[in-house]
Every structure is written in structure tokens, then in C-alpha cells.
């Protein structure tokens, strides 16, 4: 459906954020992919004739790119998932002091319920610590409108603004009004070291300004257009924001509601006034009691986390049950086998893990599809913390237990994650005399988030050809003497190389290459088929969790031809030669 100004279209939250940024006249956007924020940049690129957008190697770089653009007087943004905000925290905490020239917006995407994340942290607390305002929309249309308001607030108060979303908002759709792009003039760049060079003397003065700024925003919040009071029945009053507002409206359609568009700093006068007009005040917010704690600190009685959890997503039923004690009737859930996510058919990570399992090595893991190597039946990956941590934790393990011990371990990291923050960790291994082995599982893409380009793919977000970082040469340049490139599906060679490199008393990098089978450029070699005469029902082929393989009625292996990508892993591991590859012509 076309996005003509004046039209109404149904739009994903993330697409609406991109639309809002476009309409706000944004000129520079930088991001690193991360669920649930990825589609913001993927939608922003639709407007590439009128703005610049990029995938940066990590969120810190993305934030700094946006800051640079803001210094020069244009509207700029960075978008990232909640844990990415940690990576970007360093520039964020200080640009809060400098403030902005062109409007500067950070979109932080939280993940209550951990649909695709390693923790459930609340970005509002990060913003509170960084002393920057947070605004929070509750559906796609508000996401579009609030994005524009975010740039205005940023320029009005000389502050970076966080627009906080959650998975449910980012990945739900509703009807959005399309408007014209605003014609925003670039602001002139004026040298001002007292504002833009944060060394102690200057920062001291700016810290005073930051406190004044927050107080002013708190006062102005009384009449801020995105804070809305809906008085109805005043027996129950609810203070809420974001997607929980929708659950409140569904569960308590007659209650009075104070819907906060700005959730930090909070509008004290508005909240006191609302509290005085309702009999019982509830605060409904997912994750941490960010609003509740402040309200209670002001001496206002309210009910919040006493009856609501700090974990996971909320829902209308949950609110109904907690506040008015009602639940709809429903059947008991059936007891059924779980269906956890698994590596795809033809995934090269499976091939690497099959050898690691055979050699009984332990894996220090990282963030990506390959984290799935932790679960049955692969069960090789034993630790995973954050982006890039596989390499540095492996190094720490060696320093704790010695170089003989670490011969039984490897670090496994994807190509995009390696370029994100793995490179620094690898420098450390070279510098501090590690002897560990790092396997870079290079599938030529950022896999889990849906195939975004990165610095080693040769293409930009704006679909231009570009310099392609050579990971082999990069490792060599850092000072790794032993760098070996292997085909991830050449199992015999892979086994030989992993054995040799883990035995070596020096740091090594093995680059196991093979394209992600979901990438659109991927061409399957053919389809694997089982010869039922030769199959001895040993189950060996099924021990690596390929979704295309299953046990037949008599225990024989059966390959689903519509799912098989012809990687040939099952064929290589079959002890009876019962599987063959029918090659595509």
C-alpha cells in the first residue's frame, strides 16, 4: 500500500517510527541491527533519496555518528535494542551534558518477555541515569507522531531524547496517518567548546544546566500535549504509558487514566492533581517500577508492583484479574511437546558444532543464531553473555586455568558479532599472550535479525557496493599468526584444523565459511535423499537437529524434500552411505 500524504495505511510500529523520523526531516540515521529495533532502519532506507542511513558496526559507533550529525545542525537519530543502549552508554551519558544542535533522538527498543534477548532490562532506568527525557508511544500512529515530537523536544530543551519502544509496540501494526516530510533548515554550526568539549571544567557547568533542564521539563510536563488525562469513573485511576495503556483501555474501559507520553522526567503537578481526584490510584507499567518509585517518593499513595510483576509482558486479562478480580473462561492448555527455535536446514553452524561435539570441545558462546548450540541435541555451547564476549571470556578462562586447560575449549562467534565488539577482544588475546582458539562462523550476514549487511559483506544499508573488510587480513593485522580459513561443510578438514589449532600453544583463529541458507543469494546444491535399503535406523543423521530430517514409522531416516537445502551434513555423517545428494542441474 502506498504512503501518500493524506492517506491511511496499516503500519508496523517500527515502520511508523521510520515514517515519523522521515516526516520530522531527519537527515542522518545510524543503527546496529537488534530485535526488536531492526525494522526501523530497514524502513528508513525507503526514503534514501532524502536522507542518509547506515548500519554501523556497533551501537556506540551508531550513537556517535548521530551525535556528529547533530553537532553540525541536522536532525539525527540512532536506533538499537535495549542491550545495545549499554554499548552506546558511554557517548550517551556525556552527550546528555553537551546537548544538541540539530535534534538528536535515540530509539531504544526494550524486550519485555525476552522474545529475542539475553536480558529484560528497562531502558527508562538508563535514561534516568543519563539524565535524558524518555517519551513512550502506545501504538504505531503515536510512534509516528511522537518521533516528530521527540525532535522538537530535543531542540527545545537542548537535550538528546530517548524514544522508548517495546517488542509489542515495535512488532504490532495499526492504522497510521501519512503526512508530508517537514522542510527543516540545517542549523548553523558555531564553535562552542564550553558546550561541545566535555572536559572537567566545562562539564561541571553543563551538569548544572542538565539539572535545570530536567526540572523545567518536569514543570512543563503539566501542559505537555503528549501527557493526557482521561477522567471518567474516578473510583479507579490508572497512571500508565506505552503499550500497557492499550491493555488498561481494554480491561478497564470506564476507569480514569493518566496516560504519560513523557515517562521521564515525570510531571509532578499533573500526577498530584490526578491522584487527588481518584479514590484508588494504580500504576501500570511493564518491567521496573520506574514511575511508581518516583510517585511514592513524592509521598503519593499508589498500587503498582504490589500486585503486578516486574517480569514479562502485561495483558488486559492480567490487569482485569489484578484490579477487579475477573478472568474470562478458557479451557486448560493441552500438554504438548515444546517447539523451541532451532538452526535452519542447511545452516553452516550445525556443521561446525557437529565436529566440536565429536571432538568433545566446550564452547564459549556469543550472541546470534549459533547461541542455539547450547540446547539439545547439540549441547556444545556452555556460556553466553553479550555481543563479543565469547573471545574475551575464553581469554579469561585461560588466565584462570592455564593454557593446557583451554585446549578443550573454543570461542564461537559470528562474522557480524565479531566486527561488532569481537575485534577488541581478539586484540587482547594477541596482546596478552593467549593460546586459545577462536572460531569465526562466517555466514556472510547478520543472520538472526534477518540478513542485514555489515562491514564484511561489501554492501551498505543504502544498497550501495562498498569496500569489503577481509576478516582473514584483519585477524592477521591484529597480530594473530595462525589464521586458517575452512569451508564449514568440509567436515574432514574442519576436524583436522580444529584439532591442530586447539593443540597449538599460540592463539589461533579458524574462519569457518559458508553462506547462511536463508540469504537470498544462497543457491542450494540439491536435495539429500535416503536409501531405505541402506538405512540401518541408527539415528546418527538426526543427532544434529536438522528440521528436514525425522524418524519414519519404522525408525528409518526420512528427509523432507521441501525443507532440505542439500548441505550434505547428514550424508557426510551417515556411517552406512545411505544418504546421497541429488544435485540441482
Amino acid at each position: 500500500m502506498s504512503e501518500k500524504p493524506g492517506s491511511k495505511v496499516i503500519m508496523l510500529g517500527n515502520a511508523a517510527i521510520a515514517r515519523g523520523a522521515y516526516e520530522a526531516g531527519v537527515k542522518v540515521s545510524a543503527a546496529y541491527p537488534g530485535t526488536p529495533s531492526t525494522e526501523i532502519s530497514e524502513n528508513l532506507v525507503k526514503y534514501k533519496d532524502e536522507l542518509y542511513c547506515e548500519w554501523s558496526p556497533n551501537e556506540k559507533v551508531a550513537m556517535e555518528v548521530a551525535i556528529g550529525a547533530s553537532f553540525q545542525g541536522v536532525r539525527a537519530m540512532a536506533s538499537m535494542k535495549h542491550v545495545g543502549v549499554n554499548v552506546a552508554a558511554d557517548p550517551l551519558y556525556t552527550i546528555s551534558y553537551s546537548g544538541v544542535n540539530g535534534g538528536l533522538v535515540l530509539v531504544a527498543a526494550d524486550d519485555p518477555g525476552l522474545y529475542s534477548s539475553q536480558n529484560e532490562q528497562d531502558s527508562r532506568l538508563v535514561a534516568r541515569a543519563a539524565l535524558i527525557p524518555v517519551i513512550e508511544p502506545s501504538d504505531s500512529e503515536e510512534a509516528r507522531v511522537f518521533m516528530k515530537r521527540a525532535f522538537e523536544i530535543s531542540e527545545q530543551y537542548d537535550t538528546p531524547v530517548m524514544l522508548r519502544t517495546t517488542t509489542r509496540l515495535a512488532h504490532s501494526q495499526c492504522i497510521v496517518n501519512i503526512e508530508e516530510r517537514q522542510n527543516i533548515e540545517d542549523k548553523p554550526y558555531v564553535k562552542n567548546i564550553r558546550k561541545n568539549v566535555m572536559m572537567p571544567g566545562m562539564a561541571k557547568a553543563r551538569h548544572i544546566y542538565v539539572e535545570e533542564r530536567l526540572n523545567k521539563m518536569s514543570e512543563d510536563g503539566y501542559s505537555l500535549d503528549i501527557n493526557k488525562v482521561e477522567y471518567q469513573d474516578t473510583k479507579i485511576g490508572v497512571i500508565t504509558s506505552g503499550i500497557p495503556y492499550q491493555y488498561v483501555k481494554e480491561a478497564l474501559p470506564n476507569a480514569s487514566v493518566l496516560k504519560l507520553g513523557m515517562v521521564y522526567p515525570l510531571p509532578r503537578k499533573l500526577i498530584e492533581e490526578f491522584a487527588s481526584k481518584v479514590d484508588t490510584l494504580y500504576v501500570v507499567e511493564e518491567l521496573e517500577p520506574a514511575i511508581e518509585t518516583q510517585i511514592k517518593a513524592w509521598g503519593i499513595n499508589c498500587i503498582g508492583k504490589d500486585i503486578f510483576t516486574v517480569q514479562g509482558e502485561y495483558s488486559a486479562n492480567m490487569i482485569r484479574k489484578a484490579i477487579i478480580g475477573e478472568s474470562p473462561e478458557s479451557a486448560a492448555p493441552a500438554q504438548v511437546p515444546a517447539r523451541p527455535p532451532i538452526l535452519c536446514p542447511g545452516c553452516p553452524h550445525r556443521a561446525v558444532y557437529s565436529i566440536i561435539k565429536k571432538l568433545k570441545k566446550h564452547v564459549a558462546g556469543d550472541i546470534g543464531c549459533y547461541t542455539l548450540g547450547a540446547v539439545a541435541p547439540l549441547e556444545v555451547l556452555e556460556t553466553c553473555v553479550c555481543m563479543g564476549s565469547s573471545i574475551s571470556t575464553l581469554h579469561g578462562m585461560e588466565k584462570a586455568k592455564g593454557s593446557e586447560y583451554i585446549k578443550d575449549w573454543v570461542a564461537c562467534i559470528g562474522d557480524s558479532t565479531f566486527l561488532h565488539t569481537g575485534v577488541n577482544s581478539l586484540m587482547n588475546m594477541a596482546y596478552n599472550k593467549s593460546t586459545g582458539t577462536v572460531i569465526i562462523m562466517d555466514n556472510s550476514t547478520t543472520g538472526m535479525t534477518g540478513h542485514q549487511e555489515h562491514a564484511a559483506t561489501g554492501k551498505t544499508l543504502m544498497e550501495e557496493e562498498t569496500y569489503m573488510i577481509n576478516i582473514y587480513n584483519l585477524c592477521k593485522a591484529i597480530g594473530i599468526q595462525n589464521v586458517v580459513e575452512v569451508d564449514a561443510f568440509d567436515l574432514a578438514n574442519l576436524e583436522k584444523v580444529i584439532k591442530e589449532e586447539t593443540e597449538r600453544d599460540a592463539v589461533s583463529v579458524i574462519i569457518a565459511k559458508s553462506m547462511c541458507a536463508l540469504k537470498k543469494e544462497f543457491v542450494p546444491k540439491g536435495k539429500c535423499v535416503v536409501d531405505p535399503e541402506k538405512c540401518k535406523h541408527c539415528g546418527k543423521c538426526m543427532s544434529f537437529a536438522c528440521p528436514a530430517l525425522r524418524k519414519g514409522a519404522d525408525g528409518e531416516a526420512v528427509i523432507d524434500a521441501t525443507m532440505c537445502n542439500g548441505c550434505g551434513l547428514c550424508m557426510q555423517v551417515c556411517p552406512f552411505g545411505a544418504i546421497s545428494l541429488i544435485e540441482n542441474k
Binding site: 500500500m1 491511511k8 496499516i10 508496523l12 530485535t35 526488536p36 531492526t38 525494522e39 522474545y115 529475542s116 501504538d139 509489542r168 512488532h171 504490532s172 501494526q173 495499526c174 492504522i175 503499550i243 492499550q246 491493555y247 483501555k249 481494554e250 495483558s315 488486559a316 486479562n317 478472568s327 474470562p328 473462561e329 478458557s330 479451557a331 486448560a332 492448555p333 493441552a334 504438548v336 511437546p337 515444546a338 517447539r339 523451541p340 527455535p341 532451532i342 538452526l343 535452519c344 543464531c369 542455539l372 539439545a376 541435541p377 538472526m448 535479525t449 534477518g450 539415528g539 538426526m542 543427532s543 537437529a545 528440521p547 530430517l549 525425522r550 524418524k551 521441501t562
Partner: protein, 190 residues
């Protein structure tokens, strides 16, 4: 109109997102307020996935909860069983009669339940079909989901031309003819 709540469940990679977009767009065309909620990211890697479509005069909540769904569209039998308790008492199930073993079953750690469709039929109005075989008749197994949309369309209040128009506007341009044929096939089957 009271808000209608539809769930589409399946296995990551089966195309639940395209189906929810078709349903969302038909509701927009019908003049309703609409909310859709999807799952992206890790769960899509062969995991159990669920999308929600709600439409009516004014829709607040974008998700469908236990005991609240009017229609459950399941792209796989086990997934129909997993989410059946989300239905209202008189809820409708449209299920693709296909078995895809989840990993605990494939490695022998769990049993795939028997007689799912028979059991569900005792409580709910169930329509089952082998959409993959029907899709193969059209020459492409991947359009099974649009065949199921065709089946579902028969029990919804939008006219057939409007459906076809929406499919043309929603599916990738190169696949329009195939998807329209798949929709027609499903519509005839219902």
C-alpha cells in the same frame, strides 16, 4: 461491531506474517479499526510462532488472550492443539492437516500427540485440510497459506472480490497470479 479476534499459529518460516497482513488489510478495506501483532527474531528459527489480528469499531489491545479468540488458523496440527485454549467456547479452528515434528519429538524425547483433529472436533468447530497437497496441485508448496486464507474467507464477512483485491495488493508482485489462484482454490474447498 464487537471486536473479532483471530490467531494465526504455525512454525517459524511458514509465512504466518504474510497471512496476518492479508487479514489485516481486508479489515482495513472493510472500514474497521485493526491491530496486528507479530513475532520476529529468534523464535522465527523453526520455533512455534503466533500472530494476532483484531478488528472492530475501535481496537485497543493488539494481542489475543486465553479464552478470547473467535478463529484459530493453524498451519500445523500440533500448533492447533497448543493454542486451542485461546479460543472462546464456540470458537472456529481451520487447521492445515500436516505434521511437523518439533525437536523433542525428532530426537525421541517426546511423543507427537495422536488424533489431534478428532479431539479438537469434540470441543470446537474444526475445518481441516491438507493445504500443502492442494498447493502442489498449483505447482508451488509455499502458497499453502493463501489456500488456507481462502478457506477462512468463507466464514468471514467480506466479499470475494474484496479479498482478491487485497491479495493482489499484499503479496509480492511476482506471486500475484499464483496467490490469487491459491485463494480461489481454498475458497472452493471451504
Amino acid at each position: 461491531m464487537e471486536t473479532k479476534s483471530i490467531m494465526i499459529v504455525g512454525v517459524g518460516g511458514q509465512g504466518t506474517l504474510l497471512t496476518s497482513r492479508i487479514l489485516g488489510n481486508i479489515a482495513v478495506k472493510g472500514g474497521y479499526d485493526v491491530k496486528i501483532s507479530e513475532v520476529h527474531g529468534m523464535a522465527q528459527r523453526g520455533g512455534s510462532v503466533v500472530t494476532f489480528v483484531r478488528y472492530g469499531d475501535k481496537v485497543a489491545e493488539p494481542i489475543v488472550e486465553e479464552g478470547c479468540a473467535d478463529v484459530l488458523i493453524a498451519f500445523e496440527r500440533l500448533e492447533a492443539l497448543r493454542y486451542a485454549h485461546f479460543l472462546k467456547k464456540d470458537g472456529v479452528i481451520i487447521v492445515n492437516d500436516v505434521r511437523m515434528d518439533p525437536m523433542p519429538v525428532a530426537i525421541g524425547a517426546a511423543q507427537y500427540p495422536e488424533n489431534i483433529i478428532e479431539d479438537l472436533s469434540k470441543t470446537y468447530k474444526v475445518t481441516s485440510l491438507d493445504a500443502k497437497s492442494e498447493a502442489l496441485k498449483l505447482g508451488n508448496a509455499r502458497v499453502f497459506n493463501t489456500i488456507i486464507v481462502g478457506v477462512a474467507a468463507k466464514s468471514m464477512d467480506f466479499d470475494k472480490d474484496m479479498w482478491i483485491q487485497v491479495i493482489k495488493e499484499t503479496v509480492p508482485p511476482k506471486t500475484v497470479d499464483l496467490n490469487v489462484a491459491a485463494f480461489e482454490a481454498g475458497y472452493e474447498l471451504a
